[in-house]
């Protein structure tokens, strides 16, 4: 019974991989450009030229921004709910955070598109003024005065992945053995010291796997990112400038009008996203295992 169930999962994975490869190969054969370095996407042109360089870059960039912003907040919220908040507040707060997960991604997209982006101008110029020397946060005056940028997409993604990271972290922190906490307290540790000595080290593996789950969602998130990014197939190291495209957003934006080669090319992009997610999960497994041993 259980073996059959896991067999089904494995078969499904294998079937997805085979399907993606089968559909992607003819398009990749006809590609006149290097699939890994080309920054253009003209899959139905003659000859077809398309590549994933820009999509790979922006997918990783937006997800990385999301993780960097979301993990500290999520862990902070989880610790607050578990150890600081009065009971009545903590259950309400936990419920609110989980409610964030129930918001459909199109709503996040619309909110980012119509509210967040127009209101980020102040932050972007502040970042440019004080952190422009980092180059990545520089905002060149000639760029379009909108904030449909990887940064905006990253912020929206961060909010979207916050609930999953937060609730898994909470569960992990709850599993920290009572004796450990009491032992720390018996040594005279303050609450924050207890958390640092007992809770965080034991919860680290769990927090990492929670972050990876969040990262998986951020990598594949389609609707919200599609609404925000402009489909500019050019790698731009300035995070706050309008532009960008991700694996998921190319597929969403190009699928409707794609011809036969175009469809194959999009499936090849889907395959890359699939492999990227697999690689991330694999890396996470390794990290989690290493952390558990330690």
């Amino acid at each position: 019974m259980t073996a059959a169930a896991s067999g089904v999962v494995l078969l499904t994975m294998a079937a997805i991989t085979v399907f993606l490869i089968y559909r992607a190969v003819p398009a990749l054969r006809g590609n006149a450009a290097n699939f890994f370095t080309e920054q253009r996407w003209d899959a139905d042109g003659t000859p077809p030229r398309f590549g994933i360089a820009a999509a790979f870059y922006f997918t990783v960039l937006t997800s990385a921004i999301a993780i960097v912003l979301a993990v500290p907040v999520a862990v902070g919220v989880a610790l607050f709910i578990n150890y600081y908040a009065p009971r009545r507040l903590s259950s309400g707060l936990g419920y609110m955070v989980e409610l964030l997960a129930a918001v459909p991604s199109i709503v996040y997209g619309l909110w980012g598109f119509t509210f967040l982006a127009p209101h980020l101008t102040g932050l972007v110029s502040w970042l440019d003024r004080w952190f422009g020397w980092t180059i990545v946060l520089r905002y060149r005056p000639e760029s379009a005065p909108n904030n449909y940028s990887p940064l905006t997409a990253g912020i929206v993604l961060a909010i979207m992945i916050l609930p999953i990271i937060c609730s898994i972290s909470r569960e992990v922190f709850q599993r920290v053995p009572r004796e450990q906490i009491e032992a720390a307290q018996a040594l005279g540790a303050y609450r924050w010291e207890t958390i640092r000595m007992a809770v965080l080290p034991l919860g680290r593996a769990g927090v990492i796997s929670a972050s990876i789950l969040g990262l998986g969602r951020a990598l594949g998130e389609t609707l919200a990112v599609t609404m925000l990014l402009s489909t500019a197939f050019a790698i731009n190291i300035h995070f706050t400038e309008t532009g960008g495209v991700t694996f998921a957003s190319i597929i969403a934006l190009k699928y409707g009008e794609a011809g036969p080669t175009g469809t194959g090319a999009l499936i090849a992009a889907g395959l890359c996203l699939f492999l990227l997610t697999l690689a991330v999960n694999f890396a996470a497994n390794v990290i989690v295992r290493r952390n558990k041993v330690a």
């Binding site: 598109f113 379009a144 599609t226 609404m227 500019a232 532009g243 969403a252 190009k254 409707g256």
Partner: protein
């Protein structure tokens, strides 16, 4: 075949009787036997009757749609599904309402996922008709013919959709652009609203010192393709890109669908974008006039009609395509437009779908159907083209 022949003979008698009834002023639409609940004979007979009735009213060359018989009889009560261009979404909604006014039992579902998606679904036999902002491209001709075998896959021009250059600029209610200015704005050569070239094209208008935000469609779209054809036809030196569904440069933010384009232009002071005219007018966005050489021209049936009159119409069997004169520089012409087609099979659809498609298209191509969509911002097909389309629709296999 004898059964069919007998059916036809019966139908002919019926048609004659009905035509006579009409002539006597007795035939009110709702009083006709097939719409009063008890359907007479099979849909075969009903449609044959409708066709014959039309044939009795007009000549073969130029069939006027008999106004009271817009639908040409209600086929059996199954739903009709179509898919494709979002530019005719609003027209389809109007047509559906009119159709259901006569045939309330029939649901019409149009999945506005984009022209390419509609053509794909049509070729894969998921829908019996598709809406498309461009005729079947040569790469899809073969598969489409196969899908329709032994019939022919055909393009029927069904609505003219002007492309509106919309903008948002506080204090500027009137704006004129030449094709070359549009090209320079959309490829980032002109960055400020008070650029001398813009000021020169707009005498008497005070343009602010504000950055231009040119918004493009980030999803591949028929609107982008037709706009870029217009730019390539009118301002080759300022628009170096070949026409394409995918926006060719990285200037400015992108909007996935036309709704987002409208939102983005509405919320950004200094923005300029392009949408189909129905979307522009229903959202009350200011629209720039286009000057192709003889003064500013606004969207209207006269300015659009001029372009269609100068365009070449190719007919091959029942297949009709319009080679739009995007490069036309005649005074009073507005050449930024798309001709939106319904793509279907001349024959070869399953019997139940063929009847539905024919009766629906008879309505959409009819005089009333065309008049109906003008209010929403579409331009009805000009008379000669409309006659050609109506004649082709009348020859569609309705069975």
């Amino acid at each position: 075949m004898t059964r069919a022949a007998a059916g036809n003979a019966g139908a002919r008698a019926e048609a004659r009787a009905m035509a006579m009834g009409l002539a006597k002023g007795l035939g009110k639409v709702t009083g006709w036997p097939w719409s009063s609940g008890s359907r007479v004979g099979s849909p075969v007979a009903v449609l044959a009757a409708a066709t014959l009735l039309l044939a009795a009213c007009g000549t073969d060359e130029n069939l006027p749609a008999a106004d009271s018989a817009m639908v040409g009889g209600c086929p059996s009560g199954k739903d009709l599904n179509g898919a494709g261009a979002s530019s005719i979404k609003l027209a389809i909604a109007d047509w559906t309402a009119a159709y259901q006014g006569q045939c309330p039992d029939i649901g019409i579902n149009y999945d506005a996922q984009g022209s390419g998606n509609g053509r794909m679904q049509f070729i894969q036999k998921q829908v019996p008709f598709a809406g498309s902002d461009v005729p079947l491209p040569s790469a899809q001709r073969g598969p489409a013919q196969q899908r329709c075998a032994p019939g022919q896959a055909i393009n029927l021009p069904m609505a003219i959709v002007p492309i509106a250059i919309v903008y948002h600029l506080q204090g500027v209610a009137k704006l004129t652009l030449t094709p070359s200015l549009v090209a320079k704005i959309f490829n980032g050569k002109i960055k400020q609203w008070n650029d001398p070239a813009l000021v020169a094209a707009n005498p008497g208008v005070s343009l602010p010192n504000k950055t231009i935000t040119p918004v493009h469609r980030s999803a591949d779209s028929g609107t982008s393709e037709n706009l870029t054809r217009f730019l390539a036809g009118q301002a080759k030196s300022d628009w170096p890109y070949p026409p394409s569904q995918a926006w060719p440069n990285n200037v400015g933010p992108g909007a996935a669908v036309s709704t987002n384009m409208v939102l983005l232009v509405k919320q950004t002071d200094g923005a300029i974008g392009y949408v189909d005219n129905p979307d522009a007018t229903s959202n009350k966005l200011p629209i720039a006039a286009i000057d192709v050489g003889a003064g500013p021209v606004a969207i209207g049936s006269a300015s659009i009609g001029k372009v269609i009159a100068a365009s070449e119409v190719d007919q091959n069997g029942l297949d009709i395509t319009v080679d739009v004169a995007y490069g036309l520089k005649a005074p009073g012409a507005y050449p930024a437009l798309m001709v939106t087609y319904l793509i279907t099979c001349s024959r070869g659809l399953p019997a139940d779908q063929a009847g539905l498609v024919k009766s629906f298209i008879t309505l959409t191509a009819g005089d009333q159907g065309q008049a109906l969509i003008a209010k929403a911002g579409y331009i009805p097909l000009p008379t000669s083209l409309r006659g050609q389309v109506q004649a082709a629709v009348a020859r569609l296999d309705g069975v």
